[in-house]
């Protein structure tokens, strides 16, 4: 009988000790992010049939259970994914927004300076200094355009660098999950390895912050990871690499490529579904591209209008005005996988119809299509085809599936230059003026260029103001979206933590409780000891 007491007592001690150890583990990890509260679940050790009765045999630790709900965890992960994507986009747009903040350093102010210099030239046509100032203001405009263009280009480069870095991080996290899968599978036959499971979930959480993944549970306890559009990232022991490589459509930037069993596949923002990679891609391909195209279009339209107006006049020697600005030509790049031998050309037909966009020209075997990338509108037909003020033409024979990326304005934003003219070459006079150096009629015309109808049915200053408004709207929208998704993430986290988080007060109460049980069980051992001694003293000498 005494050994039963001793057994029950020692079992109770062991169980209480285990419970205390679990509570201590919880307390120690109260501030550990990603930790799920553990609980030693005690169960009765059953009964033994003795003497016609069932007598209880004490307590045992049935399991150490992790407070975990996979649906809550999944909700936190997908909210984190969305929040990371929105935050990446909002951050990038805030940087872009700050670029346009100072009105006196903007293109509108530079344009006003040129107009002012032309008007001053009209007031003093014979003054060499006024001519010099006009040329200087034109150069200043070109400088400022290049500054803006280069800043946007630098942000695009930063985005590319982030893509490369984050792709490497994705691979590291997938590798972590893979190795944890192996260890967990090995240990799961015995009991749930709670802390390894927490570690694996933390790795998946980090991965979700970079790109949205679907997590499937294998029967053996392993995780299978798929990209949002279904491509496998981790299946069993096999991990597929994600890398940032040169975009075949546009060698100047990077694109994401996921290795696969049937070949690599290029992922765009929709395929990624969320996470910082998707946010960065959206920022680069939609927001920064739109800003670059809009700046380039404004620069090209301004240069073209001033060149045309300047050519209408005569300089101090009576010669016709030479162009004021040098505008880089539209860039056409063939896709790296093109198999035909054709070259697509693009020429300017009507600057009034220009839209701020790049274009994709493709041949499907029967007809050509020109797709405007800013809004996805497609025009089909035979080349030469006139679209948005450009004429697209082809020379040579293409193969079905060949495509070209046409960027009419990207180079203008980074490469606009003022030509090095002499002060006497400023065409301030009208043709046929008896004294060309003193005539100011073309200078008056130059002063009116900026306010003519040139872009989107409005003037150049209106186009600039429109660009400011567009950047402001995008930034506001992105900030609002980031705010909402951050709140949703916080909310999901609260709910998950309500289940899995450690409350120190609760642990203190449990500590007290288990301590008391431990002390009580110690008393039982003491009691069994005294029973044994009583028995010994009763039977022994």
């Amino acid at each position: 009988m005494a050994d039963v007491l001793l057994n029950i007592g020692s079992r109770g001690l062991a169980a209480s000790h285990a419970a205390l150890a679990t509570v201590s583990h919880n307390v120690a990890n109260a501030s550990t992010p990603g930790y799920s509260r553990q609980e030693a679940v005690l169960a009765s050790a059953g009964g033994a049939f003795e003497g016609g009765r069932f007598f209880g045999r004490g307590v045992e630790v049935a399991e150490v259970r992790r407070s975990y709900d996979r649906f809550l965890a999944a909700a936190v992960q997908s909210a984190a994914s969305a929040s990371a994507a929105d935050a990446a986009r909002a951050d990038g747009l805030q940087q872009l927004d700050a670029l346009f903040a100072d009105a006196d350093l903007g293109l509108g102010a530079a344009l006003d300076d040129i107009t002012g210099a032309a008007a001053d030239l009209a007031s003093h046509p014979a003054d060499g200094a006024a001519r010099q100032v006009f040329l200087a203001r034109a150069a200043q405009f070109a400088d400022r355009v290049r500054t803006f263009g280069r800043q946007v280009e630098a942000m695009t480069r930063q985005a590319d660098a982030r893509l490369a870095n984050d792709a490497r991080s994705v691979n590291q996290h997938v590798e972590t999950v893979r190795s944890l899968n192996a260890v967990i599978a090995a240990r799961s036959t015995e009991a749930a390895p709670n802390d390894l499971l927490d570690a694996r979930d933390a790795a998946v959480q980090s991965l979700q912050a970079l790109m949205a993944v679907q997590v499937l549970r294998e029967p053996g306890g392993g995780y299978t990871l798929l990209a949002a559009s279904g491509q496998p990232l981790l299946v069993g022991p096999r991990a597929y690499q994600l890398e940032a490589a040169q975009d075949p459509a546009d060698p100047s930037r990077l694109a994401l490529r996921l290795a696969g069993d049937t070949g690599a596949r290029w992922l765009d923002a929709a395929d990624l579904g969320g996470g910082r990679l998707a946010g960065t891609l959206t920022l680069r391909d939609q927001d920064l591209a739109a800003a670059g195209d809009a700046l380039g279009r404004l620069a090209a339209a301004t240069a073209q209008a001033f060149n045309a107006a300047h050519a209408q006049g005569v300089d101090a020697a009576g010669a016709a005005g030479q162009p004021l600005f040098e505008v880089p030509a539209p860039a056409v790049r063939g896709h790296a996988e093109n198999r035909g031998a054709a070259a697509v050309g693009v020429a300017v037909t009507d600057a009034l119809q220009w839209r701020a966009s790049a274009y994709d020209v493709s041949w499907d075997g029967t007809e050509w299509s020109v797709c405007r990338l800013s809004d996805g509108q497609v025009r089909t037909g035979a080349l030469p085809l006139a679209v948005d003020g450009f004429s697209f033409s082809v020379a040579g024979s293409p193969q079905a599936g060949d495509r070209w990326r046409v960027q009419p304005f990207a180079a203008a934003a980074t490469g606009l230059a003022a030509r090095p003219l002499d002060a006497s070459q400023v065409a301030a006079g009208a043709p046929g003026a008896p004294v060309p150096a003193g005539d100011n009629r073309n200078a008056l015309a130059l002063a009116k260029v900026a306010n003519g109808v040139l872009l989107d049915g409005g003037s150049l200053p209106q186009a600039w103001a429109g660009l400011l408004a567009e950047v402001g709207h995008r930034t506001q929208a992105a900030e609002a979206a980031a705010d909402v998704s951050r709140r949703l993430q916080s909310d999901a986290q609260s709910r998950q933590q309500a289940l899995a988080g450690v409350d120190l007060d609760e642990e203190a109460a449990d500590l007290l409780r288990h301590q008391q049980v431990y002390q009580a069980c110690a008393r039982i051992v003491q009691a069994s000891q005294s029973l044994f001694e009583a028995l010994l003293s009763a039977t022994g000498r």
């Binding site: 109260a30 501030s31 509260r37 805030q94 927004d97 700050a98 346009f100 903040a101 009105a103 509108g108 102010a109 344009l111 006003d112 107009t115 002012g116 008007a119 001053d120 009209a122 007031s123 046509p125 014979a126 003054d127 003026a433 008896p434 004294v435 150096a437 003193g438 005539d439 100011n440 009629r441 008056l444 002063a447 009116k448 200053p461 600039w464 103001a465 429109g466 400011l468 408004a469 567009e470 950047v471 402001g472 709207h473 930034t475 506001q476 916080s490 986290q493 609260s494 933590q497 309500a498 289940l499 899995a500 988080g501 409350d503 120190l504 007060d505 609760e506 203190a508 500590l511 007290l512």
Partner: protein
Amino acid sequence: MRIPTLQAARQWIESLSQRQAEQARLQDRIASGLRVGKPSDDPAAAAAAELARSGLRQLEQERRAAAVASGALEAADAALSRGIGVLQSVRELLVGAGNGSYGPAERQALAVQLRGARDDLLGLANATDPTGQGVFGPPGWQSAPAAPERRAGRDGQWLASLDGRAVFHDLPSGNGVFTTASAPANQGQGWIDVGTVVDASRLTSHGYQVILGGTPDAPTYSVQDTTTGATLAADQPWQPDKPLTIDGQQVRIGGTPAAGDRFTLASAPTRSVFDTLQDAIALLEGSPSPAAFHQGLQRTQAGLDRALDAFGQARTRAGESLRQVGAADDALAQGEIAAEAHRSSLRDLDLAAAIGEWQSAQTSGEAALRTYATAQRRSLFDLLG
């Protein structure tokens, strides 16, 4: 719902950092004084403020152009008024020269004065405005075939220089319509006056010749149209100073012409005021016959009258334009004030409201800090032995 320790701390830190971000944003606004600093603060207002700024620049530019135009016109007015004074004094001197009592010495002295006057006018023709540009045309306008007026202002609505050729050079001679002359081979002492137009509807641009004939007791005259060859009048009786009307033009021949003397009428070519003055100087310095002197004097006086007409007209024009520029400048000044106010209303911060907002944000921030400090200090562990 359980609020675990870590979550409680997280939530509090998140709300604290949000408050701090909000305060920083308010401070930024107060420091810059702008409600719309970046486009994202208010995209529509940012675009409208940018257009307002551009409009303000244009108004400033217009005012500069108006200032240049009014400076030029004032300089033109001053130059023309001095020119009129010079011409009027020359006119008076020439009237005096018509007085028969002037001898060669007086005429020589008069010629010197006229030379001085001519130089004055040459100087005035090259007058410049405060910016150093020619008032009557660009540099070198005197030898150019034309000197178009320079205009200023965005639509070229203001005059900024006058047509120098119209004022100084392309002046009609004679009476403005036709000139008269004696043929050089005339033997007699007759002279023909400048002539007047009595019937403008009968004017042709033909040349005419009046030939005197007959005898000293019964002089006659004939009129021939030298352009068509037609004879308009033949051997009509004539006496000195009889008004002869030829196709709307009326002339008188006076003095004592001889038979066979011819006098011509022709369309008036243009002659510059300098040439007119030069004619007067040559007349005074030379020794022409009394008839030629009388005739020449009349010619130069007519030339000076035409010059005075031109100067007067130009001065009126300059005055009108100056008034126009002045009125426009006033309107522009008003426009500048309105545009500045509009831009300010779009962009600027209501400082009082912003400071109030910032202060209340500070107060609630402090309250949050205090509650956290109190609530988070105690846990059950502190109370357990």
